[in-house]
Subunit: 416 residues, 4 copies
């Protein structure tokens, strides 16, 4: 089913050749000032040529709000939005239609549904007759996520000051240096999972800063090397994968549900639902699996405001599946785009071996455009878990105080 | 909320000092032969001293079936099971209660609920007065998962021949060698993500083979080095993390729902819901992000039975979020246990700095015992998505055939 | 949240002055031939002047399909549809805006959301400046239901031959005679809850037959009296309520889930979600509460095809919450429309007593137009429960047969 | 699936011959003082011989809390409870096993699942070998509802002062007189749907008052006639149906979700999920369908506290599916028990006609014992919708105020 969320719920529709694609976002709090421009900003960041951030390049990408908002204020009712499709005509039949595209969803959609959209992969992708449709296809798959995320993050910013910023941390083998030293296998000497420089970047990075680089990598040296890597892929009629890192700041403690719906479990679900993702890690991630507990544990310290914080943050802002008020940071791995501008030896639907010819030119690397999508999915997850926790807190706050509990069960007084 | 699944649904209960812990498993198909022994086998594998696989070491771990089964056959109604708690008495107050344990859920549970179980982390963990309770605590957190998984996998095996086998692939910096060569940054030369040896292991590995090693690592050389690594952690009163790899064989094509509930998204959700996990990757994973598309794409080939398969399997058995009949394989990263047998400098709930004394001795490495838990969560995910897809297929099969569709929309005839 | 269903799921959007209203219908089986006309037929039946059944009276009511269908065949992906709003301009302020309309949702929406659509009741209704908008408003509230229902019932008809027909059974105190004799309080003599004539009507009634009467009451004598009753309400600038009865024929046995999601519970939920409904009863209904068990029980009989049927059908086609293959029939009560063409003494939002003036002329009775809405909601409920049961049956059918069960647990052989 | 609710969620298990039956109640706010006695009070009211209200008659009915509570205070985690089954031994085979019991679930469960519990109706009922098991069977079906309801209503009472009281309003044709005059068909003269006497009863009735009567009918004259009616059924080896009316007082405004999850829709769902129910009506109910709008509308008036109330309450406390702070009242119809102490002419599973002999003696009327079940289901519905609304309000309250809205969208100031 194409729906995500419990109290903040996103439902989507649309294939590559249908009249419009869109989404319903249900559960937005009433009384939020919201306009199409709030959404369009993030929509535009997904598009190729992201340097042009303020105006939609052409009409076809415009988000049209249909409901849930009046006089620029949300009503609390479902917010629907559509993006019109300029090219609704299914493409002409060609020999390439005999082939399921390698590492695309053509084959699996056919197995799943028994019929398939004439465009092939249906909701997950589309056979292209020309590169000019790339932008539209990306919109199909991602409009619902980005629009819903833009609404969620506006609320999160206004009501809690929450900041969510993602950036490109790797393209091919080119990575932002994250830590200065590796774990020493002999001595168990495990330095912070993040170098001082990278911690500072996570603490301060803004979307404006990210967008200054066409690669969306805010580490200038690395950004330049990434650019070269992408150009090399382009020249080779090939594609290249990469990673996106995201930080969530100012998150309240207490978000995430025990057992199955832990904060990191919901995040992992959301991130792996983005097309082309192959991996997710939070905090110390896979590197944390190589480290002894004495180094990995995050000791508690008293913060300036009297609340408890942690000295290090190997945990990535979650403990036992619940946020602890430290920054959440995580990383998502994207495989290289499956559509490449070179011929591929493969087989037809009926098993006949053959060569699938290349058609047109394609985007060699999608991670820069995946940045707002990662932010959007993070916003949706935070919003949904926040609304659930708000209900619990509001309900508990009306109960008479319990005075007879043992000292081990009560919240200790916070120093002023 | 402590429930997982749509048509195959698991709901859990239990804290460290309550009378019993357990679960309700709803949606098991009727007519399945099932006994407590089917569940107990996997329950026992979670316990320390796993070499003793046939009998429960003591009464307290016994799974007691409460409903949903009569004369050894499932009725289709909810299956409830409980495990009685031998030690229901909350522990005596001690100075350690003033401290939230570092990298435990003590603090975040208190932030979430405002009250906390006297044992501390409530559902996610428990302050221990003695090491003898470790086994019970592990049961608390994992009974529901393992029991539900054992039921699911019995169905999957009987009805579809599906096999799910997990094993320890890393402890600290000791890893099973997965591939012989790295991606060459200059030439983009990307060998198979998995070495011939590791592919053979994935294709043939059985639980019996895994259980021959106390580390649950089926690669003998690596297993021995892992053992040494764990012993070193134990001697240092420390702990160490690790990774678990899991393969799912004989999975039908077509599982996974588009957009939000992709097969890998549900798997990632399930795996990151296991305590102490920090990362998930499927197929080529994070390494796939470093590879060009021309190498990463999996060309189609005709299989011996006439169906389409892929020549390589960088995709890890999923394309566009839907299974393609190739083996699914994935890896999960576990941080080191937070409870260690050494004193830790940290702060009390009220912010006062101090030293949390060590109490008792603790298990230095949990990944061997996490193996059946990873298998269980994988089984639950497969079962739920399979039941959803069965409904779709059964519904579609009753419709009159469509004869007027363009060639690009119809399933090509399969060769005999 | 504005979503209904588990495997067949309807999500809706739209207020009275927004650009368009619509719905996403997710979970339709792939391979179903479907066009906008299939939906438009039922859409048109909801409109005033229902005798004109073949063409939409004007463009604004046209259902525009957006996704999920290609070449007239469903893809299995979400089907989105919209209806454009011709009058998006919020009405001018007037003194009537100071009043929450009696028995409307103006007041409760404001309490719920803190803000309200300028049109008042938001999603549930709308303050009208002119009667011409009545049709649009009805569309707003009902499009999602009727469209989703039309899709569901096309599937149900094609795959199972299921027929769902509703009709007006009461207007004010004018009712179709249902039974010849009442329960005798002294002797407990309880005749069939339904007269022979009414049983025949339920068995044979078709939508064509229903639509021959402008009142949608297929009992000619009663229909004429209803017409007079409605005209009397109209002349009095008043409104009048009524009841709709619905029959579902050819339903398979086994639909409905135990405990909470019984077939009749889901039906009751669906029916009471239709605006203006105040009551629901299935089978013998409230009259069944007056009857002794010896008369109310439905004895089993062998049907012509060898299967078991029941001699009477006081149960209304469900036993223990699960369908038994007999016809399901139920009745829904609608209150009179709250918007009437006469002044009302009431109070303003701030409590000031006053008189709310009448504006324009309004439809005095909505039950004839509620008929397709009742059918639609019934279709949606059946579809969702059918898809759930299909999954169970398909899953169970793959298990090896159990041969060791006691005789009391096995299905007895059916006579040929 | 055997689960109900979104944020307050009840999952159940248990058949007639299994070791224990029980439930998990998830989503109870943390910090609520709760003991087994809170639940046992309502559990005991369900039992035959309800005059004995303080002690459980025997051990087998005792509710055993398993989790979610420590030191008598809820932790916010799932609350599990079980009731042990004393008679787990399936009964001996007898000739009656060849017959599906008329109007029972024996037949439909077999159709649904393909196997059946040896006791017949499985979760919905049970073939009885002796009347002594009636109590247990009733517990099986109702424990989860009553226990969950007892927890919900304790919260609702403490946090909001909400009162939920149900009582028997009809047995057979014996009804509490509700209104003095009928609607006049000629003049449309429609007096209040409720007589002054009945309105007073709804306003003041308490559970203590209800329990003074063994029939649970608080109208003394009617209660006596009901008693006679039940005795007559008993002497005739027959059974008799009845109705339960329920009032909910002090409910906040704003509960209920638009479109599909209206307050009355959720109530109807919950009530029709109780075994043996055939009808539901809220407020004016089916009688409201006979009344003109000018009489049915509830004019607004300023209440003593300055808030808006309604002069009459035909609406039954809901408008547009959302509560308006007036009392909610509704009525539920129960068919007579299907198990009767006389032989019945019917057919065997294989269609052979025959006579199902009577066994033992059975309870001739269940409505007095259904009273706490109706209260419980009402509590669960209110709790779940309240938690959803609390989230919305808490979220909206953190947004900056909107000052630019037109007068028609803002909440008017309430007089002090």
């Amino acid at each position: 089913m194409s729906t995500y969320g419990t109290l903040f719920r996103v439902s989507t529709f649309g294939e590559s050749h249908c009249p419009s694609i869109g989404a319903i976002i249900d559960g937005c709090p009433p009384g939020l000032e919201l306009s199409a421009a709030d959404i369009q900003v993030q929509m535009n960041r997904r598009r190729p040529g992201q340097s042009d951030l303020t105006t939609p390049r052409n009409e076809k990408d415009a988000v049209l709000l249909q409901s849930g908002i009046e006089h620029g204020v949300t009503l609390g009712t479902p917010i629907a939005l559509i993006v019109r499709n300029e090219d609704q005509r299914p493409h002409d039949y060609s020999e390439t239609d005999l082939y399921p595209r390698p590492s695309h969803a053509d084959y699996t959609y056919l197995e799943k549904y028994g019929v398939k959209a004439s465009s092939g992969g249906g909701r997950s992708s589309a056979r292209e007759t020309a590169a000019k449709r790339s932008s539209w296809i990306f919109i199909i798959v991602q409009t619902a996520r980005v629009a819903a995320g833009a609404i969620a993050e506006k609320y999160l910013k206004l009501a809690h000051g929450i900041e969510i910023v993602a950036f490109v941390s790797g393209v091919g083998k080119v990575h932002i240096p994250v830590t200065a030293a590796s774990v020493d296998e002999e001595t168990d000497d495990a330095p912070e999972p993040l170098s001082e420089e990278f911690r500072t970047l996570l603490k301060n990075i803004s979307r404006d800063e990210v967008d200054k680089h066409t690669t969306r990598c805010p580490h200038p040296d690395t950004a330049e090397r990434m650019k070269q890597r992408i150009l090399r892929a382009k020249e080779a009629s090939d594609s290249i994968g990469g990673t996106v890192t995201c930080v969530i700041r100012n998150l309240p403690a207490g978000l995430g549900e025990p057992v199955f719906d832990k904060f990191e479990a919901k995040l992992a679900h959301a991130m792996l639902s983005i097309p082309a993702t192959k991996g997710f890690e939070i905090g110390s991630g896979f590197r944390g699996a190589e480290v002894p507990g004495s180094k990995h544990n995050d000791p508690f310290v008293r913060r300036a405001d009297g609340s408890l914080g942690t000295q290090t943050n190997w945990s990535g802002g979650v403990q036992g599946g619940i946020t602890n008020r430290e920054d959440v940071y995580f990383r998502v791995g994207f495989k290289p785009p499956a559509t490449i501008s070179q011929a591929q030896a493969t087989a037809q639907y009926d098993g006949t071996p053959g060569t699938l010819a290349a058609r047109g030119r394609h985007d060699p690397c999608v991670v820069p455009r995946a940045v707002p999508i990662v932010e959007a999915m993070a916003s949706i997850v935070v919003m949904d878990l926040l609304l659930i926790q708000k209900s619990r807190q509001a309900a508990a706050s009306l109960l008479p105080p319990i005075t007879t509990l043992p000292v081990t069960m009560v919240m200790p007084p916070r120093p002023a």
